[in-house]
């Protein structure tokens, strides 16, 4: 165990009984989350992501295995000990779980029951949070009077009000429009940086993972099939599942559909080549297209582009139509292949 570790699971198994049949949902999950990290968990719907994070604060008891919080095994802990731990953990539930009988203010104030803060302090803190999630005018509204996204924002505020050490977010931005999502992610990042808040993010939005996560684990049918820092997983996914996840979020993926449907966009003249060039670390600093255009006298027409900066490194690629003399194209292709790991000829003219 490293000193900076905040959560570690060891061989966690969780089974449910459904329809009298035993259903394994988590199968031997071992992972470790460091203090101050933003840790993403992705996977198919039903993979066991929610069940896993629910184990982290003990509201789901693992069937087998151990879960350590700051080095302390929480399995079998006395309930008051567990309570002390839970107060350090903020949780945003996938279904929000807002209290219908309390106003927005009352919902957010609830975790402060044991905080010993004065009325003014509570008021101040909540006013701040309402500002942050952009709901100051809904202070006295009841959950039934809120839109889906507003509910989610209240849930976010509630999870943060107690200034937790670690925040568990189960699809915390799934109901939010891109702009609100961005501002929430910005807020989380800020808390992470300034207060060292550890954040566990379950999400199906790859953009969220890219935006804030440092590490990511891929859960498939209850097993962790891939893990690592975000850049390496996204730039070089090992498992088919991870690849297809990443592909679906990239515009480049849709080129295949276009080829299949014989879209005019990817219609090639004789001699032309449809190329997919994937960028990896530092390759972006080279003006590739310019170089081959000049050197080999070929034209590279960019059909699809998806290049982003992830953890300071470029990620993504281009789909280009290469045209020119046959020998020129061959040499250009040769050059590109030497320089870039992933070059794929998608189609010939």
């Amino acid at each position: 165990m490293s000193a900076s570790e905040i959560i570690r699971t060891e061989h966690v198994v969780k089974t449910f009984i459904v329809d009298k049949k035993v259903q394994p949902v988590l199968k031997d999950v071992s992972l470790s989350i460091e203090k101050g990290e933003i840790f993403g968990i992705i996977g198919y719907s039903g993979a066991g992501k929610s069940t896993l994070v629910r184990c982290f604060n003990g509201i789901e008891k693992p069937t087998e295995g151990d879960i350590f919080f700051e080095g302390q095994n929480i399995v079998g802990l006395k309930s008051y000990e567990l309570r002390a731990i839970r107060r350090k953990i903020g949780m945003i539930f996938q279904q929000f779980n807002l209290m219908p009988s309390r106003t927005v203010f009352g919902n957010i104030a609830l975790p402060l029951k044991h905080s010993g803060l004065s009325k003014q302090q509570i008021d101040k803190r909540i006013t701040e949070l309402l500002e942050l999630v952009d709901l100051p005018d809904k202070r006295n509204a009841y959950p039934s009077q809120l839109s889906g996204g507003q509910k989610q924002r209240v849930a976010i505020a509630r999870a943060l009000v107690n200034q937790p050490k670690i925040l568990l977010c189960d699809e915390a931005t799934s109901a939010l429009d891109p702009k609100t999502t961005k501002s929430i992610l910005h807020l989380l990042k800020k808390l992470n940086k300034e207060l060292g808040l550890t954040i566990v993010v379950i999400t199906h939005e790859m953009s969220v993972v890219k935006e804030i996560c440092q590490k990511v684990s891929v859960l498939d049918k209850g097993k962790i099939i891939e893990r690592g820092d975000v850049y390496s997983v996204f730039s070089n996914p090992q498992q088919e599942l991870t690849q297809s996840f990443i592909e679906t979020t990239s515009a480049l993926g849709s080129v295949k559909t276009l080829i299949e449907t014989q879209s005019p966009v990817v219609q090639l003249q004789p001699g032309q080549l449809l190329l997919k060039i994937s960028y990896t670390t530092s390759s972006v600093s080279e003006p590739l297209i310019s170089y081959i255009s000049r050197t080999f006298h070929v034209d590279a027409n960019i059909v699809f582009g998806d290049i982003q900066i992830l953890s300071g490194n470029p990620l993504g690629g281009l789909v280009v139509i290469l045209s020119g003399q046959e020998s020129a194209i061959d040499r250009a292709l040769e050059y590109v292949k030497q320089r870039y790991v992933a070059v794929e000829v998608l189609n010939h003219g």
Partner: protein, 226 residues
Amino acid sequence: MDNVLQLLLPNVSQVMDEFYLSIIQTLQMVFVSGLISFILSLVIGILLVSTRKGDILANSFVFNVFDKLINLFRSIPFIILIAALIPITRLISGTAVGVQGTLFPLIVGITPFFSRQIESALSEVDDGLIESGIAMGLSPFQIILSVYLKEGISSIVRVTTITVISLIGLTAIVGVVGGGGIGDFAIRYGYQQNQLDATYVSIIVLLIFVSIVQILGTFISKRTTH
């Protein structure tokens, strides 16, 4: 005015004092025993819900003791219960007769029923809410207060309405220990002496009580539903 009264209520007008007194007696019985029983039933109902299997204070021993005790008390016909309680009533209230003597049996009579009603009301609170209280690190006591009671409030009001009306009905039976009350008045004059005016006027008074309780209950229940 007095003449009209005599014409409309030939019998009751003879015993107006007793009639007024019986109304006050009913009010006293319902208020005092209702209030005490409400508090007791809340406690017992909460105990039942929170100690059941899988809940925040899961404790099958405590649960079973209360569960079985309630069944036992609900098995005893009320009139027998009153009789059996007489010595204890005397110990607690100083006397086993009169309004004062009815309070204890009324409480013992209605509390098991009331507790079940509260249990039923609290059972309606969504598991997800309890879970989210647990996740916040609230203590069982805080969960009871801030989740079970707060979120169950409109159900609690509904079952309380039903129970208070049942309690009004129960006060008619405690006439056996001279508790009086409007129900007993109706039985003694209306039923035993076949004085129709006594029957009607008593039922009207009871109906007014019942309606007030019902309207109040519906109002509060609506106000607490969001």
